[in-house]
């Protein structure tokens, strides 16, 4: 049984999805989905343990040995990412039943859970597989279910947002497919490990460069790297709250994983950072993304938009770490992938609670919420402080590693800019705090109650994780640095 964990990671949610159709009753379906996601979470914990102890696991699908058969290859990097995805998915699901009650019509509930499971399957599949074409297949599974999930949002703007995402996402997926196709053409293999050994022989050709560029642009579209982020804010703002919380914490992380995987373990650092000017390009885009998106976030009136733009900015931080192409920079990026999932999961879930009670996430509707929903607002404040990077939260740990990595590389101005950018986060978080705590509720408006426990428990699980991993950093830092080291160990 333990030997089959890599495939179970994907098969469990995949098989659970159609099984939902048999159950039909929403309550049951919800519990079943939760169970499936929790199982996936347990599997990913076991996998990570195995990988940390014994090293990379290779699983041959159907007994066909690679490079002919499909291989599932689990190393520290993807075990870590799979843990984040399945963990956040499980916690977020705790609130799903309550949340969609008000946001999605009753008859679509089963459909919602099926799509959710498929989306989870897709993401876990992208992460675990060791086959380049498999990546594309799972990418399509996760994307198609994502478009439909976003379209389930409560007003018609969700349709438009979903359509925007559909167009951009399809372009991205096509680019990725073209990239993979070109790689296959040059090397005759789709197995990632095999690709890594064969690509250097043909690295000097223009075709390989083209393949890399197509692939990376496609991934960056999915990643919502500035300026390819245009689909993201609307998709996050108009999707059902649960979907936003889930995607904000996970979907861009999957793209970040692909970026790391293909750049570091398949094409290799020397190809991407020496042959091609990726360092300047990513550093520039990352910094621009941080500043532009954070500034735009300050001027948004819908809080979901605020945090959506903030997500774009946070991706900028990750990319800055990526662009350093050093061990420290990559560790910082991976840490931020983990930490950002915790922050944004907590924030968007708490916004879901606000939406559930107040019916809106416009800034003006936050007036007086500090007293009416004290626990929810306290969660938003704490997660917001983490987003800013206040000490004793995870945000501080990521910033610390990122800035230290920048200084070690000798990039003093970058270090300064990264710190200054945190101040923009102070502004947009503070707007919410001031409105919620210092403004009296609008006269004549109905007072609302604290969010139900089904929201508070998952929100506070995530908020506590923000604080816990900000104080006891051993687990996250160890895994992130080990993963980064293994990537630099593999690559010559």
């Amino acid at each position: 049984m333990l030997a089959h964990l890599p495939i179970l990671q994907v098969i469990v949610p995949l098989m659970a999805a159609p099984a939902c159709l048999i159950l039909r009753r929403p309550q049951l379906v919800w519990m079943f989905t939760l169970l499936a996601s929790a199982l996936a979470f347990i599997i990913s914990i076991l996998l990570l343990q195995q990988v940390m102890q014994t090293g990379t696991i290779s699983y041959e699908l159907g007994g066909w040995s690679p490079p002919w058969g499909i291989e599932y290859r689990i190393d520290k990097l993807n075990a870590f990412i799979a843990l984040i995805i399945s963990g956040v998915s499980t916690v977020v699901l705790l609130a799903a039943q309550t949340s969609i009650e008000k946001e999605i019509p009753q008859d679509k509930h089963t459909l919602f859970y099926i799509l959710y499971l498929l989306s989870l399957t897709g993401m876990l599949g992208i992460v675990t597989t060791g086959d380049a074409f498999n990546v594309f297949v799972f990418l399509e599974i996760s994307s198609l279910s994502a478009y439909s999930l976003i379209a389930l949002g409560r007003d018609r703007r969700a349709l438009w947002a979903s359509f925007q995402y559909l167009i951009m996402g399809t372009i991205g997926a096509t680019f990725i497919l073209i990239g993979i196709g070109l790689m296959y053409q040059m090397t005759g293999t789709l197995n990632m490990a095999d690709l890594a050994t064969r690509l250097p022989e043909v690295a000097e050709t223009r075709t390989v460069t083209t393949a890399y560029v197509f692939f990376i642009v496609g991934v960056c579209l999915k990643l919502a790297l500035f300026p390819l982020h245009l689909w993201l804010p609307n998709a996050y703002a108009h999707a059902p709250s649960i979907v936003t919380a889930f995607f904000a914490a996970t979907s861009t992380k999957v793209a970040a994983y692909l970026l790391i995987r293909f750049t570091f373990s398949i094409f290799g650092v020397s190809f991407s950072f020496t042959t091609l000017p990726m360092e300047t390009l990513f550093l520039g885009l990352g910094l621009l993304g941080i500043f532009v998106a954070s500034t735009v976030a300050i001027y948004q009136d819908n809080i979901k938009h605020v945090f959506a733009y903030s997500s774009v900015a946070q991706i900028g931080y990750m990319i800055v770490g990526f662009s350093m192409s050093t061990n420290a920079g990559l560790s910082a990026m991976l840490l931020h992938v983990f930490n950002h999932a915790l922050m944004k999961g907590a924030l968007f879930l708490a916004l879901g609670a606000v939406l559930y009670r107040v019916g809106s996430t416009q800034l003006r509707d936050f007036q007086g919420l500090g007293r009416q929903m004290p626990l929810t607002m306290a969660a938003i404040v704490l997660a917001g402080l983490s987003l800013i990077g206040v000490p004793l939260t995870v945000g501080f740990v990521s910033k610390w590693y990122l800035v230290v990595a920048a200084i070690e590389k000798g990039w003093w101005p970058v270090a300064g800019l990264v710190l200054l950018a945190s101040l923009l986060a102070v502004v947009y978080v503070w707007r919410i705090v001031e409105t919620a705590y210092f403004k009296a509720p609008v006269v004549g408006k109905e007072l609302v109650q604290e969010a139900p426990m089904t929201f508070l428990i998952p929100v506070w699980i995530l908020v506590s994780a923000n604080v816990y991993f900000g104080i006891d950093t051993r687990i996250s830092v160890d895994i992130a640095t080990a993963a980064a080291q293994s990537l630099f160990g593999v690559v010559p």
Binding site: G389, P391, W400, V403, L419, L420, V426, G470, V477
Partner: protein, 496 residues
């Protein structure tokens, strides 16, 4: 009760923070709630004094809470400078609570529970700053101090208060995250440690240009030290109730700033290294300019609290100068001035608050003849003014004396002249207040009006701090010993 010194040290930080629970629980019973505040402040002061006595006996303290990142831990220890700071802060906290009870009730302020809670957290974090064993711990408590004082600054809840609060938070967070944290990270990368170490942490061959840059980041980043151009938050914070201005902006917050500057100069750079850095000289001149400009601006302020606020900016410059002089005399003078200025300035603020509560006046030009109506308050004001200016019989004399010696030691003649001119300016903006009160006639009152002093708790507090000003003139010995041992006691700082 026989608690170990390490326990006492942790109690200093934790007691005020746990006291908030008691304050919240007793929010419906005013007297009990204030009793919690007073009781805690007495206990904390008792603990600090016990630590002081234990330290005199040669004991060392090292407390380690937890390790956050490899090599970075939340840990505490005691050294003379922190001792000075914690003694002053805990003592003046007690006095301020007494004063605040009189003031807040006399002034019918709202949200008193929130007020006392934030006050307690602020003091807990001041203790954390004072006892921090490394820059990382110091930084964390520095930030908690900023955040916990924000609700105090915006206490009134008016538009002006919110605006002041925004400036306050904006400047302090910008400088601390943008520069201070940057400097800490730079130190971490170059030195590999953030522990306060006698003689500094930087390796011998480090690039002095880079270190000079880091020093600039530190000086600007420690915004609480109010070096121009990052001093605007101090006048902005004057929208707070007077006890807040008194304790936090004459004692705790600003002193946390200069204390940090002092610590960084002495225990991160070390005065030997500091004296050869290329930027030290310009920073000295900047601090000198701050002293002069702030004094000039103070002269032009008619609002009493604003005048005192700018006076604080100037006096903080003295302490920064003391640290940057990079001589033992400068360090002694600067650290003594932390104490002297604390007692003088808190008395002045107490008096300003007393005037506001008793006769509802806040402008210097309205104070004519007030000496007859509020003789005790105005006498105290006069004595404290002398302390700030630095003439006997108040403690400020000694610290300014050593600072001047420090400038001569290092042959900083320009700074010497600046300090002398500034003392004259101090006279020019402080003494006229007392003169108006005692020598001028109140134009509005026709006949003799009776004495109308502030509530009794306020007067008691004013009395205590005024006596403190004088006592520090007569018995500066213990303070001097602590200050002069800052540079020598590596054994106490790290128990080697």
């Amino acid at each position: 009760m026989n608690l170990s010194l390490a326990t006492l040290l942790q109690l200093c930080i934790l007691l005020p923070i746990f006291a908030t629970l008691g304050i919240v629980a007793l929010r419906r019973h005013q007297n009990l709630r204030e009793a919690v505040s007073i009781g805690t402040s007495v206990l904390v002061f008792y603990a600090v004094v016990s630590i002081y006595l234990g330290l005199q006996g040669g004991a060392t303290i090292d407390v380690n809470w937890l390790q956050i990142l490899p090599g970075l831990s939340l840990s505490f220890s005691v050294e003379p400078l922190g001792m000075i700071f914690s003694l002053i802060a805990s003592f003046l906290w007690f006095v301020t609570i007494v004063y605040a009870i009189g003031y807040m009730r006399g002034h019918n302020e709202d949200h008193q529970t929130r007020f006392y809670c934030c006050f307690a957290i602020a003091i807990g974090s001041v203790m954390g700053v004072a006892f921090a064993d490394n820059l990382f711990t110091l930084f964390i408590f520095y930030e908690i101090l900023t955040l916990s004082t924000y609700p105090l600054v915006t206490h009134a809840g008016t538009e002006a208060a919110k605006k002041g609060g925004r400036v306050y938070l904006g400047i302090l967070l910008t400088t601390s995250i943008g520069f201070f944290l940057f400097a800490i990270l730079g130190t971490w990368v170059i030195a590999g440690t953030l522990d306060f170490t006698q003689g500094g942490v930087f390796p011998a061959g480090a690039n002095t240009a880079v270190l000079g840059f880091i020093l600039v980041l530190f000086i600007f980043g420690i915004g609480k030290a109010a070096i121009m151009p990052f001093h605007r938050w101090l006048p902005a914070a004057m929208v707070a109730p007077t006890p807040v201005s008194a304790l936090l902006h004459a004692v705790a917050v600003v002193k946390a700033g200069v204390f940090t500057v002092m610590k960084v100069c002495v225990l991160i750079f070390g005065i030997d290294l500091l004296s050869v850095l290329p930027t030290t000289q310009s920073l000295l001149y900047l601090a000198g300019a701050t002293v002069l400009l702030a004094s000039v601006i103070a002269m032009r302020q008619d609002n009493l609290k604003a005048r005192l606020a700018y006076s604080t900016v100037g006096q903080l410059g003295y302490i920064t100068i003391g640290a940057l002089l990079a001589s033992s005399m400068g360090v002694v003078g600067g650290s003594m001035h932390i104490a002297m200025h604390a007692f003088g300035k808190i008395t002045l603020f107490f008096c300003a608050g007393a005037i506001l509560v008793a006769v509802h006046k806040s402008k210097v030009s309205q104070l004519d003849g007030l000496g007859r109506r509020m003789p005790i308050t105005m006498t105290a004001f006069f004595i404290a003014s002398l302390g700030i200016i630095g003439i006997p019989p108040a403690g400020g004399t000694w610290s300014k004396w050593y600072l001047l010696m420090g400038t001569m030691d290092t042959q900083q003649w320009i700074i010497l002249v600046i300090l002398l001119i500034s003392s004259l300016l101090n006279i020019a903006y402080l003494l006229p207040i007392s003169m108006r009160a005692f020598l001028f006639k109140d134009p509005t009152s026709n006949a003799a009006v009776g004495i109308k002093e502030a509530p009794l708790p306020c007067l008691i507090a004013i009395g205590i701090t005024t006596v403190g000003c004088i006592a520090l003139f007569i018995y500066p010995q213990p303070l001097y010993e602590l200050a002069s041992s800052i540079l020598q006691t590596s054994s106490i700082a790290h128990g080697q």
